[in-house]
């Protein structure tokens, strides 16, 4: 049985000044204790609260009543077998008999070690969605391909931007205007003639670069705050997909503790859907909290 003491509540109360210095012999100062009432122990009651009332003389010779209130709690029921308790009392043997005091064979780690989750909880569903679903949907065709919107030709659910058949016909995207559109398909080595070209400038970088662009697309982005810690991306998706096709769901997760930080973003394909979602879900009770749903403000940079 383990016990723990709550912070003892003690107060000193000068009770009486009946005994005065002048009335006492100087040398029997230590023997005054017989003048004090005996120590009293009240409890512990059913809540584990125990009161100890003691009397003593303080430095000034005043009688002081000290009431100490403690609460004893059972922290855990340790089920130690009789044999184990017996073993606890076994004498040390072997090298353990004369162990040097400073040898410090057993130490408690100064470092807090946590069971590190392989990935932020809940993010896995999104990962597989990003990797698996679009491909599966490619095969399936238009059925449920809500996530796929080509930004070059604006066609929904047919192909990704990078695979757009009209890519060469469309105007090159703003970020790479200085490059002819056809260069994106040419291999890097063909155009550079051996000079170093930073990866971002190489041919084909446009395609690679487009991926983060898509992720950071802030169009029709809705910010959801005051999420409970248990809410994961799949939950959000379930909540928001009723309003229309959702292209991205993201829940912010603390990298160190892998606990949700309580906010997230949902991107809709259509602005109307996003607006409806905001109107409906702002102030909506979800889990144990009241959601706050609003338009996401673009980042300062």
């Amino acid at each position: 049985m383990a016990t723990a003491m709550d912070r003892p509540v003690s107060y000193n109360a000068p009770q009486s000044n009946k005994v005065r210095w002048g009335e006492l012999d100087e040398d029997d100062g230590e023997d005054l204790d017989f003048l004090l009432p005996p120590r009293m122990v009240i409890g512990p009651d059913e809540n584990g609260v125990k009161k100890v009332i003691e009397y003593k003389f303080n430095e000034d010779g005043n009688k002081v009543k000290i009431t100490t209130t403690t609460r004893t709690r059972k922290l855990a029921k340790a089920r130690l077998s009789k044999r184990a308790l017996e073993r606890r009392a076994w004498p040390k043997f072997g090298d353990a008999v004369h162990e040097e005091v400073g040898s410090r064979l057993t130490m408690v780690s100064t470092e807090e070690i946590i069971l590190e989750r392989p990935r932020a909880p809940g993010s896995k569903a999104e990962e597989s969605k990003a990797a698996g679903d679009p491909l599966a949907q490619l095969g399936k065709g238009g059925a449920g391909a809500v996530l796929m919107v080509c930004r070059t030709c604006g066609k929904k659910g047919d192909h990704w931007t990078s695979r757009c058949p009209y890519k060469d016909l469309a105007a090159p995207s703003e970020g790479f205007v200085d490059k002819p559109a056809s260069e994106t398909t040419a291999p890097a080595s063909g155009t550079t003639k051996g000079a170093y070209v930073p990866p971002g400038m190489r041919g084909g970088a446009a395609e690679r670069g487009s991926a983060p662009d898509r992720r950071r697309n802030e169009e029709n982005s809705v910010r959801v705050t005051n999420l409970s810690e248990d809410t994961r991306e799949p939950d959000l998706l379930e909540l928001f997909r009723t309003f229309g096709p959702v292209s991205r769901v993201y829940v912010a997760v603390d990298q160190k503790t892998s606990v949700s930080r309580g906010f997230g973003f949902v991107n809709f394909v259509n602005k109307d859907d996003a607006e409806r979602a905001i109107n409906k879900l702002n102030g909506y009770g979800y889990d144990n909290l009241i959601l706050r749903v609003e338009w996401a403000t673009p980042r300062a940079n």
Partner: protein
């Protein structure tokens, strides 16, 4: 959690074992002295002096009175757990690699390494109730598998012996006749040396860890492969939680390659997997070298890991471990 670090060994750890009640933890290392610790606070209770070589394995009887250790000095020794005194020495012609008491502690299986043109073998010894009557005669000797047999344990009802080792094959032998009953399939089984083997609490299934970077769960009777846990490090040690459906794999880069790399690159964490879903639950870091030994406390609330770095780390789980959701 704040693990308790126990630095009683000067050389790499080789094996860890809790007694049945989970209050004592036995550790074996390549230095010559097995050590016993109190499993709750990590205090050293005693050491067993007498071996003259690396100690590879140990087992403790159900009543926690008798300890057996197998050592590279070509002996296996019986010890009095309480006093640290030697009760008996089994002498062999080659290093002993693994020891395991049967249910009831009346028999013990001991494996010996191939050595000086001797093949590896599995010996079954009778353990006398009174140590003064103990003899060194083998009840049964099994030979056959090529290469070292890293672990041999008793199967259900002591009827079989399960062995695994360098040839990557898991075998089930008849413990009466020494006949080979079952052998794991080359295709579905391990591809490289099996380094460790741990039985479940009820003995119905067991887990093997291998240098092929995987661990496999097998049925003890039929030797059917139940689950495979794939990791990205060679597995040196495995353990199964008696409380939750969790398995722990320990390992890491081979010790001879370690110095060239960053600590994180070595992948020295103990990895938790869900036993049934085969999904990774998490990792516990801390060791500076590969993990050679793992053991779960029989109450399932703490586990110990022993590393090439010579430390035993005793982890008492925080309460949130018990409500991890996948």
């Amino acid at each position: 959690m704040r693990p308790i670090l126990m630095k009683g060994h000067e050389r790499p750890l080789t094996f860890l074992k809790y007694n049945r009640e989970g209050d004592l933890l036995f550790s074996c290392a390549k230095d010559h002295t097995p050590t016993v610790w109190f499993a709750d606070n990590g205090e050293r209770l005693g050491t067993y002096r007498g071996h003259n070589g690396a100690v590879w394995c140990c087992d403790v009887s159900r009543d926690s009175m008798c300890l057996i250790t197998g050592s590279a000095d070509q002996t296996a020794k019986l010890w009095n757990v309480q006093t640290g005194s030697q009760l008996f020495t089994f002498n062999f012609d080659s290093p002993t690699r693994s020891v395991d008491f049967s249910i009831g502690d009346r028999l013990c299986v001991i494996t010996t390494d191939p050595f000086m043109e001797l093949p590896s073998s599995i010996h079954v010894k009778h353990i006398a109730g009174d140590p003064s009557e103990q003899t060194g005669e083998s009840v049964l000797t099994i030979k056959g598998p090529q290469g070292r047999i890293n672990r041999a344990v008793w199967g259900p009802l002591n009827r079989t012996i399960i062995s695994a080792g360098e040839d990557a094959v898991v075998r089930i032998w008849d413990s009466e006749t020494g006949k080979l009953l079952k052998e794991s399939n080359k295709e579905t089984g391990h591809q490289k040396t099996v380094t460790s083997l741990a039985k479940s609490v009820d003995g119905s299934h067991f887990l093997t860890g291998s240098l092929d970077k995987s661990a496999k769960l097998w049925d003890s009777r039929t030797l059917t492969l139940i689950k495979t846990y794939v990791t990205e490090r060679p597995v040196n040690a495995v353990a199964m939680s008696p409380l939750l459906d969790h398995v722990v794999l320990g390992g890491g880069q081979d010790a001879s390659h370690v110095t060239t790399t960053d600590r994180r690159a070595g992948k020295f964490e103990a990895k938790f997997f869900h036993k049934i879903l085969q999904e990774e639950i998490g990792g516990v870091k801390g060791h500076f070298g590969p993990i050679n030994a793992l053991a779960f406390n029989p109450d399932g609330r703490s586990f110990a890991s022993g590393g090439e770095d010579g430390y035993v780390r005793l982890h008492h789980f925080d309460s949130d471990y018990f409500n991890i959701k996948l």
